[in-house]
Subunit: 200 residues, 2 copies
DNA sequence: CATGTAAACTGCACGGTGTAGTTTATATAT
DNA sequence: ATATATAAACTACACCGTGCAGTTTACATG
């Protein structure tokens, strides 16, 4: 690997670390150069401004997270089991260190500069990408009965986010795998109690 | 009212306004004194440091919010109607300018200084104070069937928070009263589908 | 294998700016 | 009279971003 690429990576790694632990505002470029083991001038040779560096960090972290499989509706499988797969993937994402890092950095920035909010929200990660399609198919197959599919999808995701993501984000507590399993089971039970088609 | 108390209030009002609109970091003490129509020296006569002023603001805002009625379970009324009262109160709180202000300021600080997280979380506002008692009574009366009452209470509140509070907090969108009514209805429908006692 | 060279890195000083908090001298309210 | 408010200048410091002289790295050419 070229030296310049190595240095660039050191800078990005340091920025990710410091922006996360101290916030963008409280991270000085001197401190950052020190942590990256790079001269401050080199930082500025790679990134014209602090804001450019911040944008690059955010992009890199989003790219890292963009992967992730899609669960498609399968009429031959029990609906609960399929929802569990979706929920497990989502909880794994929401509680991953990588996701929490980018979320914390992004949210801190958004709260300080509300004008950036719209720009951020358009990036679709996790099951948000496909859940509407999944629910539509499940309704078409007669397994679920949902009047407002996007709303119901949000209800499901929000259950997971509220119990898993926000508590971690605000530094309150992490869940054990057993607790996560309980959260997932209850989210599914709640969802199916409302939307599963009744026989008869 | 004494002059000094009047000035103190002007300072607190200005701080609340500016800390909310610009963030604590981006509010200078000069700007603050200007907005309060008070000399900067007077600010420092009342509050030794910027941080002391911030703490005072937070305390005052919490105190303002600490009021609020309690809904007690009433076996003679339909459960859906009682849950609607609770939800309406909660949504009114969560979408009030006062609550959003203190929440934004507090959360920004918590995210920058995680060691303060525990301290904040212990303050109980809104229906969080009484919902466990309400659900316990409703179960005892046979109207609801809930295995894990604290968990179910959270499920209910989190529905409201997710749809009403976080989107406003992150500056994404405000809901119209009609949308809020829809959110409340769906939260209740979801909750009762899962937990309402079935006849038979 | 020796030498040249272009690109990248380093270290440091510096300009400009913003801001927390202080000082001083004066005016005003109770 | 005496405590408090005011205005404006001042100190001390932290930070962003730049300029530059000199050094290192990677690689090509003789």
């Amino acid at each position: 690997m070229k030296l310049t690429d190595k240095k660039r990576m050191q800078i990005l790694d340091a920025a990710e670390e410091l922006f996360h632990s101290s916030g963008v505002e409280h991270t000085s470029m001197d401190q950052l150069a020190l942590q990256a083991k790079v001269s401050k001038r080199t930082v500025y040779n790679h990134f014209a401004t602090k804001d450019a560096l911040f944008q690059a960090i955010l992009q890199r972290m989003f790219d890292k997270l963009a992967e992730g499989g899609e669960v498609r509706f399968d009429a031959t499988q029990p609906i609960a089991q399929q929802l569990r797969r979706i929920a497990q993937d989502e909880v794994a994402l929401l509680s991953s260190a990588a996701f929490l890092r980018v979320a914390k950095i992004a949210i801190m920035q958004v709260m300080q500069r509300p004008e950036l909010a719209q720009h951020m929200n358009n990036s679709s990660l996790g099951c948000k990408r496909y859940i509407d399609n999944f629910l539509t198919d499940a309704c078409a197959a007669g397994v679920l009965q949902i009047a407002d599919i996007p709303f119901a999808g949000k209800q499901f995701i929000y259950q997971l986010k509220s119990f898993v993501f926000y508590p971690s984000l605000f530094g309150l507590e992490q869940q054990t795998p057993a607790q996560q399993a309980h959260i997932i089971n209850e989210a599914i039970a709640l969802f199916l109690a409302r939307y599963q088609s009744k026989p008869g």
